[in-house]
């Protein structure tokens, strides 16, 4: 489905009055944001302001953190994912995640990509073969590994290849949303550009939310930019959110101006 981007994209995820505590410490306060469908939303801000925490609250990866408490609503296509009846396993199949450090399993490239489909119960070899090839092609890894991917251990790939493999593993189950937490911060500039190109290609089909501390990267790849900052009480807040062009050229908040002109952070 190569649907063109709509002029007024719909809302994929609506976050309302989200508060996150780790034990006694409040990390995020009153975050409200609408993440647009089939667009790239970049989360920027100095380190420690809660970007990763926010991202992880979109697929409930914070649930497993001891002492984590989450309030507010996160609605995926209108349904609150924190509703007790909402199935976490299904949620994570719809909202995939790529981590900061490439974390392929110490298994073959094939088994890495087939992991998600197998969990969904796909057993037929020919179907798995098809999915694996398709996914590896989509992340432009196919040509590099097509001779060896059935046997080669994923840990023998270069870091950049590993990260593309992790993206392939995520998209193998056709999620609707892909969350990426500084996916290129461990990579060299060439691999970083590759990942960025890849994101531009993937956004035709997926809603992408990316955390980055690199403002050029946010400006280059994203359609929307959200700027997070800790207030005086060290609590993360959403300071500014809007279309990337507007946020970078005409920021409304003085703190955003200071941040993107490099005055702090």
């Amino acid at each position: 489905m190569m649907e063109r981007r709509k002029s007024t994209p719909g809302t994929k995820i609506a976050v309302e009055h989200l508060n996150v505590h780790y034990g006694k410490k409040q990390v995020l306060a009153d975050i409200c944001i609408e993440i647009k469908e089939r667009q790239i939303t970049a989360l920027i801000g100095p380190s420690g302001c809660g970007k990763s925490t926010f991202l992880r609250s979109l697929n409930r990866m914070n649930d497993a953190v001891p002492g984590a408490r989450i309030e507010g609503e996160v609605r995926l296509d209108g349904e609150n994912i924190y509703n007790p009846r909402f199935d976490v396993v299904q949620l994570r199949q719809r909202v995939g995640m790529v981590f900061q450090r490439p974390n392929p399993f110490p298994q073959s490239i094939y088994d890495n990509v087939a992991f998600g489909p197998r969990i969904l119960g796909i057993r037929r070899r020919s179907r798995l073969d098809e999915i694996v090839e398709q996914s590896l092609r989509e992340v432009n890894l196919w040509d590099e590994v097509k001779e060896t991917f059935r046997k080669q251990n994923a840990l023998t790939l270069s870091l950049g290849q590993q990260q593309r493999l992790c993206i392939a593993r995520t998209i193998a189950t056709r999620p609707e949303v892909i969350l990426m937490d500084e996916p290129a911060s461990a990579l060299d500039p060439i691999e970083t550009l590759r990942i960025e190109d890849l994101m531009r290609a993937l956004v035709q089909e997926y809603t992408i939310v990316i955390v980055t501390h690199n403002m050029q990267q946010a400006a280059r790849v994203s359609d929307w930019t959200a700027f997070f900052l800790t207030d005086d009480g060290q609590i993360g807040k959403l300071v500014e959110y809007g279309e990337t062009g507007r946020v970078f050229t005409n920021p409304r908040d003085q703190r955003t101006v200071d941040y993107i002109t490099g005055r702090f952070g």
């Binding site: 995640m97 450090r101 974390n103 992991f115």
Partner: protein
């Protein structure tokens, strides 16, 4: 030892001979440990090798062990050891792995705090006690429940050995599971895998070399065990035949050496053959240890890639 400023020179001088003495002592102890091991090995070789010269291979590697009639077939003893050890591992390995998974991945913290020391206590039970337990409690059960003519069988020995090697298997496997990076679990959970799918498809396979090591170390523990095995296996030096052999008495290499060494004439063929059996046992455990060491080496060199 050192004293401050003005007396430094005076204070240091006597400390040097002391240091030298301590260092020499440590060195002597270290080398003598190596020396003892070498001596034992040489002793084992000089006493054991003649067996292979004095007894024809056709006799030595036959199936009949009747030393009084100069029949020194060691195959029943080797296969006795193998049968008991392998059966023990068939019982202990799955149990140990499940226990390790439970302790590491599933059990709530308080249960882990209780279980871990408990498992360590288990490791400290003397083997005579276990042998006694096997004779008086387990053997009757085996006889009654499985309808074996005697309760002293390969299976009884295997169960006791399984019990003895469990602590080793559990603790080594648990360490292996513990060493699996959190990032693998995160990746799996974020893919929508359940906790069980994450454990069986990601955590356990990622720890496989350590888990294999647990199996090998457990096996090493089992194959060398003597006392408990001698007490509960019935000690009949017969070739195990077929599946029902596990419900019959067997005799292991270790039990043979322990039972007969006290009665043989020093320097006799029988005496040398017992040492020869010791050599074979040594070779087997050496191979197991070698396999473990090479696995650890592989693990370490692969760890660099993570």
């Amino acid at each position: 030892m050192k004293k401050p400023s003005s007396q430094t020179r005076v204070a240091r001088l006597p400390s040097r001979p002391l240091e030298f003495a301590i260092e020499s002592l440590i060195r002597v102890l270290g080398f003598s440990a190596i020396g003892f091991v070498t001596l034992i090995f040489i002793f084992l070789l000089t006493e054991g090798l003649p067996a292979f010269l004095q007894v024809r291979p056709g006799n030595l590697f036959s199936t009949r062990w009747y030393p009084t009639f100069d029949l020194y077939g060691v195959l029943p003893l080797i296969s006795g050891s193998a049968l008991v050890t392998i059966t023990a591992m068939l019982i202990a390995f799955p149990m140990g792995l499940f226990t390790a998974v439970f302790v590491r991945e599933v059990a709530p913290n308080w249960a882990r705090e209780v279980l871990k020391p408990l498992i360590e206590v288990l490791a400290g039970i003397p083997s005579v006690v276990l042998g006694f337990f096997g004779m008086t409690m387990l053997a009757p059960i085996v006889r009654e429940v499985l309808g074996a003519p005697t309760g002293l069988t390969a299976l009884t020995g295997a169960i006791i050995l399984a019990y003895m090697s469990l602590p080793t298997i559990i603790s080594v496997a648990e360490d292996a599971l513990d060493a699996v990076p959190k990032s693998y679990r995160d990746a799996s959970l974020a893919m929508g895998a359940t906790r069980w799918q994450t454990i069986w498809r990601v955590v356990v396979p990622s720890a496989r070399s350590g888990i294999l090591m647990a199996l090998m170390l457990g096996m090493g523990r089992a194959i060398g065990e003597t006392m408990a095995v001698m007490m509960v296996t019935g000690n009949a030096a017969r070739m195990p035949e077929g599946l029902q052999a596990i419900l019959k008495p067997v005799r292991t290499m270790t039990a043979t050496i322990a039972a007969e060494m006290g009665e043989v004439a020093h320097g006799s063929t029988h005496y040398h053959v017992l040492f020869g059996i010791g050599l074979i046992l040594f070779a087997i455990t050496f191979l197991i240890n070698l396999a473990v060491a090479s696995m650890m080496f592989q693990k370490r060199s692969r760890g660099g890639l993570r």
